[in-house]
Symmetry: C2
Subunit: 195 residues, 2 copies
């Protein structure tokens, strides 16, 4: 297996930016399905797949979302063609008997709330990152956000309490004119060690 082309690495990582403005054209449902059908292959612990996605695309959906958004995220989110709620299924382990064939892992989580919570959060967040990179891989730009009121969002979208919002991500074709200046990154020496 060799490295992807420079153009592909640029599109995924080096030139990709967090976007604040998007072209208004709707994202076809087929593209949202293609996105899920890529990101779903990313690895999770015991294939637990705790992420649940709500693609908010309609005016009604955006209206339901709006009261939960931080002021700085409101306008750009209302204008984005789609906003994904990356949520976590707190009872993800109910799917383990079909998703993980090696042994019955369900009791391991059912009987241990702390393990279930940390597993759900870690793996649901990994899946959120797979979503961001899968979106870029199919030519969409992303605007991930954690500035929102989770209590309000959960009450509006997940009233039975089973799913819990983790973070949000606007999707569309980005408007380079609305980019903020790019922040620096920690150097290898600051962030890494070889042992």
């Amino acid at each position: 297996m060799s490295a992807l082309t420079t153009e592909a690495l640029d599109q995924l990582f080096i030139e990709a930016r967090t976007h604040n403005g998007f072209a208004p054209e709707a994202i076809p449902e087929a593209t949202l399905r293609r996105l899920y059908n890529l990101m779903k292959w990313g690895p999770t612990s015991m294939n637990c797949q705790p992420a649940r996605l709500v693609f908010v695309t309609s005016a009604e959906g955006k209206e339901k979302l709006a009261p939960a958004l931080s002021p700085g995220n409101l306008d750009k989110t209302l204008l984005a063609p789609a906003t994904v709620i990356i949520a976590t299924d707190t009872r993800f382990y109910e799917h383990l008997p079909t998703m993980f064939a090696a042994y019955d892992a369900r009791p391991m989580f059912e009987g241990n709330a702390e393990l279930a919570t940390s597993t759900a959060l870690r793996n649901g967040t990994l899946q959120g990152a797979y979503l961001i990179l899968a979106a870029r891989a199919i030519g969409l730009d992303c605007g991930p956000m954690s500035g929102f009121d989770a209590g309000k969002l959960n009450a509006a979208f997940f009233p039975d309490g089973r799913y819990q919002a983790n973070f949000l991500c606007n999707l569309g074709v980005g408007d380079p004119g609305k980019l903020h200046p790019r922040g620096p990154r920690l150097s290898f020496e600051e962030a890494c060690e070889i042992a």
Copy 2:
């Protein structure tokens, strides 16, 4: 921006697998640096970049790691050319004055342990997923693992308590003969909704 080629999407998502065996050849330090210099560009909230990486490649490093590994992860990890500890810097916010120029965000986290912890975990985990996909993008295979004793690992590698292990990932050129059968994935209908 258009979609990557089918081959690239296969390499990143569709054909990529969690590997349990790897060719024994060492990974050059230049490749580990290339990996970090790709994954570092992935987005984090306020550019907070809480992930810290320890690339365990030496016999001494593996010996230090071994007592913390679950029995099922021990042999394959000792044999992998590199094992990355994806850790979280609990005081990531000390870098914010240089990493996030918009305003001084440090006090926001310094004075709120709960916000600091959830921000560190969410964003450090996103960066762990960026690492997995960046590794695949440069032709490396991954074997991510959460089966280890975090207390023991932290005591051995991070005795001052500032960094905390999140998960581990073996890296190398995978041996297809050691793959487990692939688990299924939740369907779009099971995991997603359009609102």
